[in-house]
């Protein structure tokens, strides 16, 4: 192995892959039953954290950063003047195995620029996964990119070796896509997604009757959207996310604040800041959809095109729906408990458990760990002291902002007018 050359390639191709935010290595069921290397049946493990605070659980690299496309938002676009490199299939296999054996990683995340055409590229990605599974007896986690436009046969094969497959939709609106990635067609993204979805359903059905049915992408599909590159609204982003969750059974949709990589009049300028706060609010909304029983239309609609940056989306919703509150924490059903600002999933479960034994008062609730500074205005409990005054929502929002702190508070920088 020529370590110096590999090191150079690694620096180029890891650098180009880092804008893909998916890092999860959980949800697969691949056990090490063959006395081989690796096991991905448990929870995912973060083996390290980079200085931007993101976790490192997979070796995340591109096979190559040569690309025939010229998408404006992408660092590896054809017209960008950067160093190009390509790994050989065997090199990726060796790196994965050697890193895995040292307990550096949970597995491989392999993406690629598109060289020649979609099928040619997809074939190379599959070769890596196939070699790892069949020649190295590797049971660690493998996440492969589905290359937009790849044929159905290849997508079918990919799922037999990979734990997760993903196509990044990147630009949530068709108009944005036309503007920023003129060579790409919306259908090209959808086609592999549709194929993988159908295969997953089919394999699941078969495995009900035939025990030896091989696993097909056991950790499902995911996708990613860039936030803040094409002037889209939060509603645009979350409605497409919702569409992908519902229509293609996505396990996850990731939101990636746009990091300026090019001087281009169609895009935010090079020195503009990464929209971290907006990204954070989108993830909060995503969680409300998946775990808290919210419908997207309650959170974002004609009147509310964008999320409130100052407060979290659940609080923002509650402030618009004051007629539903206050609720009695000892009586109200679980679905409504989930909608109280400052009360998370774990607290809801604890409340439901605890109120079987005794009526809960403020002290119980704060021990359970709910965020009292927000919750107290929306609940009653076993106590005579309530925040029953009914100030306007605007006033209430200011009080909450004034009596709490937040890590992004400097950025929103609102002047509090009422005090």
């Amino acid at each position: 192995m020529d370590y110096e050359r590999i090191k150079e390639k690694l620096s180029i191709l890891a650098d180009a892959a880092k804008y893909d935010v998916s890092c999860s290595s959980s949800g697969s069921k691949r056990k090490n039953t063959t006395k081989g290397l690796g096991d991905s049946s448990g929870i995912g493990i973060c083996h390290s954290y980079t200085e931007d605070g993101r976790c490192v659980s997979l070796l995340k690299i591109l096979l190559t950063n040569h690309c025939i496309f010229d998408c404006a938002y992408c660092v590896t676009r054809k017209s960008n003047d950067i160093k190009r490199a390509a790994f050989k299939v065997q090199e990726v296999v060796d790196l994965t195995i050697h890193f895995y054996r040292r307990n550096y990683i949970e597995g491989l995340f392999l993406s690629s620029g598109i060289f020649k055409d979609a099928d040619y590229t997809m074939e190379r990605l599959i070769q890596v996964a196939k070699k790892l599974r069949l020649e190295e007896n590797f049971n660690g986690y493998i996440h492969l990119k589905s290359i937009p436009g790849a044929s159905d046969e290849l997508m079918r094969e990919a799922g037999l070796y990979a734990d997760r497959l993903s196509v990044n939709i990147e630009i949530p609106t068709k108009s944005g896509l036309k503007l920023l990635a003129p060579d790409k067609k919306h259908e090209d993204f959808i086609k592999p997604m549709e194929k993988v979805k159908n295969e997953i359903i089919q394999y699941k059905q078969e495995s009900l009757f035939i025990k030896s049915t091989p696993k097909y992408a056991p950790a499902g599909q995911s996708t990613q959207m860039i936030v803040g590159a094409s002037g889209e609204s939060d509603r645009d982003i979350m409605y497409s996310a919702n569409f992908f969750y519902k229509k293609y059974n996505m396990k996850r949709v990731y939101y990636s604040g746009y990091v300026p990589v090019a001087e281009d009049p169609r895009l935010p300028a090079l020195n503009s800041k990464v929209p971290l706060l907006r990204e954070n609010r989108l993830y909060q909304t995503d969680w409300l959809l998946r775990f808290y029983g919210f419908d997207i239309r309650e959170l974002l609609n004609e009147q509310n095109l964008n999320l409130d940056l100052e407060v979290d989306p659940k609080l923002s919703w509650a402030l618009r729906n004051r007629h539903l509150f206050p609720v009695n924490i000892n009586r109200v059903e679980k679905q409504l408990l989930l909608r109280i600002p400052g009360v998370g999933l774990k607290s809801v479960n604890k409340i439901v458990q605890a109120r079987k034994f005794r009526k809960l008062n403020w002290e119980h609730l704060s021990k359970i760990g709910i965020a009292m500074n927000r919750a107290k205005y929306f609940i009653t409990c076993d106590s005579r002291e309530f925040e029953v005054k009914e100030p306007s929502s605007e006033y209430l929002k200011n009080v909450i902002l004034k009596t709490s702190s937040g890590k992004f508070r400097k950025e929103t920088g609102t002047q509090l007018s009422l005090f």
Binding site: Y3, K7, S11, L37, S48, V56, R101, R102
Partner: protein
């Protein structure tokens, strides 16, 4: 008045459970249970040296099993491994509480001992998970993947099966420098071992006297990856330190090159 009893045992879980058995059998008023090396003589107490008896230990465990949830049993085991001073007494109180009640109470966190035990178990669980994440193997000249750690709690027994399932086709050793014993997989079974380690071996690096000639190259490759995958314009050192506390940096290849 009944005399107060101080029990000492050999430091094993079996030994501790034998203490519990003895306390019931002899109707002792137990005020302290200590692993032998920590024993100090006290006035007005009777000291008992309890000899580990696996039959007695098993009886205690079996009767606990009937009244305790899986999570409760796990908490008892894990809290025992925390080696927190006087944890034995908390465990003893929790066991007495469980055995005295007719309904399962091992999840009743309003009982002080149950809460203490659960909190200790949580700490141990966190350390276990961190060791599964932060152990870094180095390939030795004789083809064994070696890692040295100094965990806050005695977690080797807990991480054994994780590494056994994962690295079935390579020989490995994880060595606890603090407690001076290790676990070793020889492709057939995991054994407890103790070694005379040359300090030169260290926790990181790859001195040529001990490690494979290619070891340092892979450490450098990993380090390169770690550097390249960072996004500078998203720097967030507060979050970085929160996720990766400094006391764990000594294990990490990417922080020691």
């Amino acid at each position: 008045m009944q005399q107060q009893a101080v029990l000492s045992y050999d430091g094993t879980l079996e030994g501790f459970l034998t203490c519990v058995f003895t306390a019931y059998e002899e109707k002792l008023k137990v005020v302290a249970i200590n692993a032998s090396e920590n024993t100090t003589q006290q006035l007005f107490t009777a000291s008992y040296e309890v000899i580990t008896h696996s039959g007695k230990a098993k009886r205690v465990w079996l009767s606990l099993k009937k009244k305790t949830s899986a999570a409760g049993l796990r908490d008892l085991k894990w809290a025992f491994l925390s080696e927190i001073p006087q944890m034995e007494m908390q465990l003893y109180r929790m066991i007495r509480y469980i055995l005295a009640e007719n309904v399962p109470v091992d999840r009743d966190f309003s009982h002080p001992a149950v809460l203490k035990v659960a909190q200790a178990a949580k700490k141990v669980g966190r350390e276990k998970h961190r060791m599964e994440a932060f152990v870094r193997f180095r390939r030795t000249r004789d083809e064994v993947y070696f890692a040295a750690i100094e965990p806050d709690f005695n977690v080797l027994p807990l991480i054994k099966s994780h590494f056994k399932n994962r690295y079935a086709d390579q020989k490995w050793i994880i060595y606890d420098l603090k407690r001076n014993f290790g676990i070793a997989w020889d492709l057939a079974a995991v054994n407890y071992i103790s070694l005379d380690l040359d300090p030169e071996v260290g926790i990181s690096g790859a001195p040529e006297a001990y490690f494979h000639t290619s070891e340092i190259a892979f450490q450098q490759l990993w380090n390169q990856y770690f550097t390249s995958t960072n996004i500078k314009s998203r720097a967030n050192s507060k979050l970085h330190l929160q996720q990766l506390p400094k006391r764990y940096w000594k294990y990490l290849t990417e922080k020691n090159l």
